[in-house]
Symmetry: C2
Subunit: 250 residues, 2 copies
């Protein structure tokens, strides 16, 4: 039987999602809790692996077990009581064996949070990219539209020989301005994301906002297919996996 | 020359304020940064020592040095660039030698944040006391008034033989309800606070809100002068030192 879980986590104190020997990871903690409850070794498959420091509000994973889980809400409750408080399982449901947390994904929504401040921001440091420069948000909004559509994102990711194609489609990308202009929330929705893609896009937008790059320079970065041409890849702490959408597949 | 600094810090990853060998503390980090800039050993004296996990938005300390600091805002900038991002020095000013961060205190304002939720709350766990029970806020507000005025707070603190008197005056205490009733912000203003006093008061209020204690039971706790009679002392992570007021003294 296959089960789908949706979870949120504060990535600040995890060495990323992926299980690694002798490191505390989200996957490691969840599989440990599942093994305790189900009394068998469980492998979870997530929609994607978030890096160290990256957060999630709606990460999705699936796992298989021979045991039937009758009371799903009680199961979620037990799981949460075993997990560290930095992880919260939001739901668990039975899905068909066709469902695959990674391959059935239709859309993913990421949020990258930027906070404009010259201070150390003790309470925001783990949850935002703190930017000490003033930014031209209008230019950044204009630049957002250049990313929408199908593009080769080779310049906006870390090269991975296992990935056949770096072509992806971004269906929506925009910035919500909050807190009297101090907070910039960058939303990126797409059919798939490459390693460091949102962080590299966010860094490029900041370079545009600071005036280091023109808006049209985005076209040049795309054309170059060279990651060195893009802006600095921003830190993981500003990034949130908001939602994974499977449409009618589950 | 005496200088007064005001600072905020996220207490989550500190072993409290007070310097301790081989532990990371707020005082330890600040004194290290001051020593680097001023090129001499500096002892800071704070308005009070916050426990592990306790936060501050307006903690105050003073220190003495023979060196005259000419550009105070540049000094603050240098200090912050040396400090971990979990500490932010908000200001530094020259004060008279009569000023004492601890003994000149007229009033202190504390905030204790409670969040009502049955979930793990990954993003709130370090910044709130998460309470899984429904609370009768009206009763808690009524109970607040019982604490206002001059009282012997012996029942609401950890005994400390070095403290001569446990009599303190609370001038204001109330709860602000936010987030559709899910967030309770308890504000406590007083002329002085004993060890664990706000956390013990907050725990007693929760026991009243849950129905374990009647509002009038507060009188009995005061009369007993027995810490065992009070509610559970809540965790440090919900507590914030908001402001230290020195009136016309600085």
């Amino acid at each position: 039987m296959r089960y789908k879980i949706v979870m949120s986590y504060d990535g600040s104190n995890f060495s990323g999602f992926q299980k690694q020997p002798s490191l505390v990871t989200v996957e490691g903690e969840i599989e440990k809790a599942l093994a305790t409850i189900l009394q068998e070794e469980i492998d979870i498959v997530a929609s994607g692996r978030t890096d160290a420091g990256v957060h999630a509000l709606g990460q999705v994973a699936h796992f298989d077990t021979d045991k039937e889980i009758n009371d799903l809400s009680k199961f979620v409750y037990s799981l949460n009581s075993l997990l560290p408080k930095s992880i919260d399982i939001l739901s668990c449901e039975r899905v068909s064996n066709d469902f695959h947390a990674r391959y059935s994904t239709k859309l993913k929504i990421y949020l990258y949070k930027i906070y404009l401040s010259k201070f150390n921001e003790p309470f925001k440091r783990n949850y935002y990219h703190i930017c000490g420069y003033p930014l031209d948000v209008e230019k950044m909004q204009k630049a957002c539209t250049k990313f929408i559509g199908e593009h080769d994102f080779k310049s906006f990711c870390i090269e991975n020989p296992q990935i056949k194609s770096t072509i992806r489609t971004i269906t929506d990308m925009h910035i919500d301005v909050k807190e009297d202009g101090k907070e910039l929330d960058l939303y990126v929705t797409g059919n798939g994301f490459l390693h460091n893609m949102v962080r590299s896009i966010a860094g490029t937008l900041i370079d545009i906002g600071r005036g280091r790059f023109d808006v049209d320079y985005v076209d040049e970065i795309f054309a170059s297919k060279d990651h060195q041409k893009a802006g600095k890849t921003l830190d993981g702490c500003g990034l949130y996996l908001l939602k994974v959408d499977y449409s009618q597949q589950n």
